[in-house]
């Protein structure tokens, strides 16, 4: 029947809508199907007006519903829950003790300042705000680092951590075709998506040891050694996400040795500089060690957490090269990748960062607020550890809560246990067992301890 109607449609004189009717704008073509739309009717006649209407079947009929994002979807599920004891330990966004989002005072100051300055809203260059690029590289490598003085760093403003990683991934795909990126097992859930979409092959190196709830250092070194020469090794600069387990400085040294041996390229993801220990310099030590050895290094930065600028999407991709000339070439190619993706990056977040990091008084204030945020998380870790240790009579060692660093704790809970956390206790977390301590208050530690103990012991 459909095909008869199809031929009927094409045979119908497709008289154009009268020019007059169109111009008057009175044409309300939405009125046509007064009854329930019949998908098999392709053309309708209304007096002298008939139109060729579009195909009755969607071009996208076969598209399936994608599953919700495993991390960002947690907040959506949390919002939908109206239980009074619900707790959102999903996404890594800092909360105050009152579990409210936090806009840093220094950011509020600068927001006001920017409006007073009244700067224009012209396009940034493709590589972003020059003032931002300067301070972001200095922040990461240290202002007096030789690589900066020698102009050996290609820095391009990116859309926070994700966007910066994506630019680097596209550079790898284009200039190192076939090269693999090694990512830790486990790692941030979006890493593999980024490399998949950029068409960069990846494989995993051992990282988390569930038996010790610590670092599987030997496995990590063995896997990095075994990778094809010239692979890219994705390293979390500090506050590993999701485990919270970082290598010690000595271990970092060995990791650097192996990477150098195999002519791998270290690729740092630094999303928590300042947030892990409370000190910007301490948290950059791993990256600076590699750079100090003269290695070429890729480093993606994010200001989402440490400046609370989540929604402003501000970050940077840095490529430390062996010469200023190589850095200039690499920068030009990063621009070539950004232009067909979004042309140039958003100006607002970049101005906020440039104003804060570039002003010594504001910078000091920022440091203080960051220490406060990192301090709150440390306190929460202690309270949670105390609650777990006192409530759990099994003798299980909960000290990993104290040893882990940064926003997250890897509880070691499996998927079924995580489901129990959510379904029975209304505690929202990612299914890999990760909880965001940034979303935990001292007041809720005991409740959380009960939930964890119950899930750990009573669910398998």
């Amino acid at each position: 029947m459909a095909s008869t109607l199809l031929s009927l449609a094409s045979a119908t004189p497709s008289a154009s809508l009268s020019f007059h009717e169109i111009n008057k704008g009175k044409l309300n073509l939405g009125c046509i199907n007064k009854e329930k739309p019949n998908p098999f009717i392709k053309a309708k006649s209304f007096g002298r007006v008939s139109m060729v209407v579009a195909s009755n079947v969607s071009h996208f009929e076969g598209i399936t519903m994608a599953p919700p994002d495993p991390i960002l979807g947690v907040s959506e599920a949390f919002k939908a829950d109206d239980h009074e004891l619900k707790l959102n330990l999903g996404v890594g966004a800092y909360r105050t003790e009152e579990l409210q989002p936090y806009v840093l005072d220094v950011v509020k100051k600068v927001n006001k300042l920017l409006l007073e300055k009244g700067e224009n809203l012209e396009y940034l260059p493709i590589e972003g705000l020059a003032a931002f690029n300067k301070v972001t590289a200095e922040l990461l490598f240290g202002a007096d680092n030789p690589v900066i003085k020698q102009q050996r760093v290609a820095t391009v403003q990116g859309l926070s951590g994700t966007g910066s990683l994506r630019l680097a991934a596209a550079l790898i795909e284009r200039y190192f075709p076939g090269a693999k990126v090694l990512i830790s097992s486990p790692t941030w859930g979006n890493h593999k998506n980024i490399f998949n979409d950029a068409r960069v092959p990846w494989s995993e190196y051992r990282y988390y040891d569930p038996k010790t709830v610590g670092l599987d250092f030997e496995g990590m070194i063995a896997d990095i050694k075994a990778a094809p020469e010239g692979s890219f090794i994705l390293l979390h600069g500090c506050a590993h996400n999701p485990t919270g387990i970082d290598p010690t400085p000595e271990q970092w040294g060995v990791i650097a040795d192996v990477i150098q041996e195999k002519n791998h390229i270290p690729f740092f993801d630094i999303a928590y500089q300042g947030f892990a220990s409370g000190s910007l310099d301490t948290d950059a030590a791993s990256v600076r060690m590699f750079v100090a050895r003269g290695m070429e290094v890729i480093a993606a930065q994010s200001y989402s957490k440490n400046l609370g600028l989540y929604a402003e999407r501000i970050g940077a991709i840095n490529v430390v090269c062996s010469s200023p000339e190589a850095a200039a070439r690499v920068k030009s190619q990063l621009k070539r990748i950004a232009r067909p993706m979004y042309s140039n990056p958003p100006v607002h977040g970049a101005r906020i960062v440039a104003n804060i990091v570039g002003d010594s008084a504001l910078f000091k204030e920022w440091n203080a607020e960051m220490e406060m945020m990192a301090g709150r998380i440390k306190n929460v870790r202690h309270k949670l550890f105390d609650s777990l240790s006192s409530k759990d009579k099994s003798g299980k060692d909960w000290s990993f809560v104290l040893k882990q660093i940064g926003m997250f704790s890897f509880t070691g809970l499996n998927k079924a246990q995580c489901d129990n956390m959510t379904n029975k206790w209304h505690v929202y977390m990612t299914k890999d067992g990760r909880i965001s301590l940034a979303g935990l208050s001292l007041a809720k530690c005991e409740y959380l301890a009960d939930a964890i103990i119950d899930s750990y012991h009573n669910v398998s």
Binding site: I22, M51, Y175, E296, R339
Partner: protein, 452 residues
């Protein structure tokens, strides 16, 4: 020591070359390692070749590169007619009053936070953007057949839409007009689509090659994607008439060609928001599907904030919902979620009827100034007796004029008159003022009479 890849057109080494490079690197550093127990002192330079040695320097972006060149020129009479950013009569960038107002309101709102937006962006912004482009009473909106996601201005919206199509649509070819905005081809090819062109501009008439357009779209394989400039075609300024749009619509629907509209100038072309959306609304009105990339860079002057939206009009609500879920999978590994500032400004303005009205007035003033520049330039060329028919300057619409000057003439104008423009002869009228029109007219006159 290592082969340098000097071919400018090759952007990636073959895997064989890469393996060769890896070997060379290995051999080079292996010999070094055997010489020394390497002392890496912090002050020492890098030992060995860069892994990026084969990365060639990319040329400057042709459009944005014009401004780079302009900035370097010390001449006091230099004129930047390159990038399409509005300038006042005084030659200054303009931040709309209503935008400043909105920024102040946002600052005063103490409840505002900077938490991650949802992957699809600000819900209110998305709804308002759809209403703006499709019309508040659009049946597609009423029937929930539209999904709208916040993206990074026009470029970002095009890219996300193209990535989606490359993954989910059966036809991987997009037809783009000849000529089109310089960045279009790469947006689509990097997204995974292949690009073909359809005839559009007729250099002899400096108007539309409508016959060529119909022929080329008519011979495109059924289902192909077709890029359409909703209004104020960039770079030519030549738009189809409404009657021609209707013919295009009929042809496309009869061949099930999928329209992908690029709407970067709504309100900027004619000064009227609804008029500039007519082409899109015509397509939506027939019940069919289309993609629309919207930008607020020009019409709200929010260039650097990167505010835009991608809308997909579907046949049915459940399809729209599934499409949205898949768009999120494109966005998440690209930038996770969009920036909040610019979209908040837009939402603030669009939802408040007073501010909306203020905006339309400021928008019309910008459009009117450009129309006035067109008239002044046309009159100036006629007064000089410059050979040729320059009526296209006043017939074309929007920010740009396709002058018809060739690249030699453009080069001449840059060299002798310090006029900066893209080599295809496109000038941004927004960069002109009453004071600078005479200088430009002199330059064009000289170029036409002394260079061919």
């Amino acid at each position: 020591m290592r082969p340098e890849f000097t071919s400018p057109s090759s952007s990636s080494s073959s895997s064989a070359d890469r393996r060769l490079n890896a070997l060379v690197r290995h051999l080079a550093t292996a010999s070094m390692v055997s010489q020394t127990a390497v002392a890496f002192s912090p002050t020492s330079g890098f030992h060995g070749d860069s892994v990026f040695s084969h990365v060639v320097r990319a040329p400057e972006d042709p459009i944005l590169g014009v401004t780079v060149a302009y900035n370097k020129d010390p001449s006091p009479v230099k004129l930047n007619l390159g990038v399409g950013a509005y300038r006042t009569e005084e030659g200054k960038p303009l931040v709309l009053n209503v935008v400043r107002k909105a920024e102040q309101m946002l600052l005063n709102d103490k409840s505002r936070v900077k938490e991650y937006l949802p992957i699809v962006g600000i819900a209110e912004f998305n709804k308002l953007s759809a209403k703006l482009i499709f019309g508040a009473d659009s049946p597609a909106i009423r029937e929930n057949r539209v999904t709208t996601v916040q993206c990074l201005s026009g470029t970002g919206s095009l890219r996300v839409g193209a990535e989606f199509l490359a993954r989910h649509y059966h036809q991987k070819t997009i037809y783009i007009p000849q000529p089109t905005w310089g960045n279009h081809p790469k947006v689509f090819t990097l997204a995974g689509l292949s690009v073909k062109t359809y005839r559009y501009y007729d250099p002899t008439t400096r108007g539309m090659n409508f016959q060529g357009l119909l022929e080329d779209l008519g011979s495109a394989p059924s289902g192909s994607i077709v890029l359409l400039h909703a209004c104020a075609h960039n770079p030519t300024g030549v738009d189809p008439t409404l009657q021609q749009w209707e013919q295009i619509r009929q042809l496309m629907r009869s061949k099930a060609l999928l329209p992908f509209f690029d709407s970067a100038y709504q309100g900027f072309a004619s000064g009227n928001l609804d008029e500039d959306a007519q082409s899109i609304r015509m397509f939506v009105a027939d019940g069919g599907e289309c993609f629309v990339a919207q930008s607020y860079a020009k019409n709200m002057g929010l260039y650097g904030e990167r505010v835009g939206a991608l809308s997909v009009v579907c046949r049915a609500a459940d399809v729209a919902s599934k499409v949205e879920s898949q768009l999120k999978l494109v966005i998440r590994p690209m930038f996770s979620n969009p920036p909040i500032h610019g979209a908040s400004i837009v939402a603030t303005i669009l939802k408040d009827s007073n501010m909306f009205n203020e905006w339309t007035i400021e928008l019309k003033a910008m459009a009117d100034r450009i129309i006035s520049m067109r008239k002044q330039l046309f009159d100036a060329l006629r007064a000089r007796g410059t050979p040729g028919d320059w009526s296209h300057i006043i017939k074309q619409i929007g920010m740009f004029t396709f002058t018809g000057l060739n690249s030699k003439q453009v080069e001449f104008m840059t060299r002798e008159y310090h006029i900066y423009m893209t080599s295809d002869g496109r000038i941004s009228m927004a960069g002109l003022s009453s004071k600078t029109v005479p200088h430009l007219a002199d330059a064009i006159h000289a170029a036409v009479t002394r260079m061919s």
